[in-house]
């Protein structure tokens, strides 16, 4: 099956710093999403991005499907950005059966 890797596993940032999180996957995918699990455990869907680039405020994501990786950029980080960021990939085009990566644990300190 598809293998999903994320790096780095852990990251500590000073508030205001920028960061790049990476997701590598081992096979072609039709579905790629980024999620943020906040400290209360809730999973928030950040991006659906099987290819291309999207931006939403201080967050942006780029997926290069041909090279099997995706990047999540966080600019001007805030303490509320803390939590675990998951990349999830799938091959179905009609629904969201996805495989989650192990996550990147981000701590933003004041």
């Amino acid at each position: 099956g598809i293998q999903v890797e994320q790096s780095p596993p852990d990251l500590i940032l000073q508030e205001g710093a920028n960061s790049t999180l990476r997701c590598n996957f081992s096979d072609s995918v039709n579905n790629l999403q980024w999620f943020h699990q906040n400290p209360w455990g809730q999973l928030i869907n950040l991006f659906y991005i099987p290819s291309g680039t999207k931006q939403n405020g201080r967050l942006s994501a780029t997926t290069v499907a041909t090279e099997r990786y995706s990047l999540l950029y966080i600019s001007s980080s805030q303490t509320t950005d803390s939590g675990v960021y998951f990349c999830a990939v799938g091959w179905e085009t009609s629904y969201d059966k996805v495989i989650f990566g192990p996550g990147t644990s981000l701590s933003v300190i004041p």
């Binding site: 999403q33 998951f86 179905e92 969201d96 495989i99």
Partner: protein, 112 residues
């Protein structure tokens, strides 16, 4: 719109007992998914409903797990009998279309 809700938020049961988890999806979302994260490992797919029908249940670990979605609205996931390795967080998600999954807050299950 109200989000996906799950009940209970936390359940502690003894090995061998039965537990039923409930998920109320966002109104109008035909697709409903169950995922779980066991012992701090990766979040893994369990099954997918389209309305009341099971579209894909390939992730269900064994026959101690039974999921239903009566009338295509809320869904239940029953574990009977529960084992220690079932401990973890069970997530429900609903979506109107691929890439728009809204996850619930999860139910933390502890089997002692």
């Amino acid at each position: 719109e109200a989000g996906v809700t799950q009940f209970p938020s936390h359940s502690v049961i003894e090995k061998g007992q039965t537990v039923t988890l409930r998920c109320d999806p966002i109104s109008g979302h035909d697709n409903l998914y169950w995922y779980r994260r066991v012992m701090g490992k990766e979040i893994k797919f369990l099954l997918h409903f389209v309305k009341e029908s099971k579209q894909d249940e390939s992730g269900m670990p064994n026959n101690r797990f039974l999921a239903e979605r009566t009338g295509g609205t809320y869904s239940t996931l029953k574990v009977q009998p529960a084992e220690l390795e079932d401990s973890g967080v069970y997530f429900c998600a609903s979506s109107p279309a691929p890439g728009q999954a809204h996850f619930g807050p999860g139910t933390r299950l502890t089997v002692t």
